[in-house]
Symmetry: C2
Subunit: 162 residues, 2 copies
Amino acid sequence: VTEAEQFDDRERRTWFSFLTMQEDLRRHINRQLLKDSGLSLADFSVLSGLSQHPHGSLRVFELVDLLRWERTRLMHQVSRMESRGLLERRPTEEDSRGSRVALTEQGWKAVRSAAPQHLRDVRRTFFDALSPRQVDMLAALSEAVLESIREQEAEEHGKTVR
Amino acid sequence: VTEAEQFDDRERRTWFSFLTMQEDLRRHINRQLLKDSGLSLADFSVLSGLSQHPHGSLRVFELVDLLRWERTRLMHQVSRMESRGLLERRPTEEDSRGSRVALTEQGWKAVRSAAPQHLRDVRRTFFDALSPRQVDMLAALSEAVLESIREQEAEEHGKTVR
C-alpha cells in the first residue's frame, strides 16, 4: 500500500463514521418499525413505494428502478410479502415486460397504519439531529455519489460489451 | 397522518436519496471487492478491523464494539470466515469474557492484497465525488446521527429496566 493509496485521517474518520452510521441507522429504524408494526424496513420500502403510485401498483421493472435493489433480492422480497398477503402479482397482458406488483387491501392497511410512527421515528433519530444546512448538503452529497456510481457502472458496462 | 408527521419535500428528497445512495454504494463497493479479491465488504471489514490491532487479534466483545454489528450476525460471519481459513478463534484463559478472534496467515495475506484496490475504489466512487467541505460535514453529520441513536437506545433501555 503506497502513500497515495492510503486514506488520510480525515478520510478514514469520515468513511468509518459514515459506514457505522448507516449500519446503525438501518438497524435502529428497522427494529423500531418491526416492534411497532411488524414490518421490516425492506417491507416498508416496497409498500410505501407502491402506495405512491396509482392503484398501489407498479410493473416489476419500475419497482426495480424505484428501489434500486438487485432484481433477485426484490423478487425474493416480493414473494415473501405475497405469501403474507401484503402484495399480489398480476400478469400484464398488454406488454411482455413482466407482471405488475400491487398492494392488496391488507398491504394498504399495513402501510397506512405503519407510516405515522415510522416517519416520527425517522424524524426523531435522523432529521432532529441535523441542521437545515446539513439536510440540504446530505441530499446534494448523496446525489453526487449516486452520479459517480452510475458513471462507473456505465463505464464498466461499456468495457464488458466491447 | 397529520401534517406534522409528514416529511416536507426537502426532507423526502434527502431521506430518499440518502437511502438509495447508501444501498447503491454498498452494492457497488461490495461487487468491486468480490470481483477483485473474492472478499465481501463484510469480510473486508472484519479483516481490516483486526489488522489494525496488535497481533491481528481482538476479543469478540471488542470486535462487536468496533464493527457495531448485532452479535449474532458477527458470530455467523466469523464462523464462515473461520471455515474459509481467514480467521481462527482462540479461547482466552485469563478472562471469562469470551474467546479472541485472530487473523490467520491467510487472513493477513487476504487483507493486504485486497486493501490497495479497495481503497482506490472507495476513493474513486466516494471521496472523488465530494468536496473537502462535504467530507468534513459528512463526518460531523454521521457522528450527530450516531449520537442521536445512542441516546434513544439508552432511553429505551432505561424504560425496559424500570
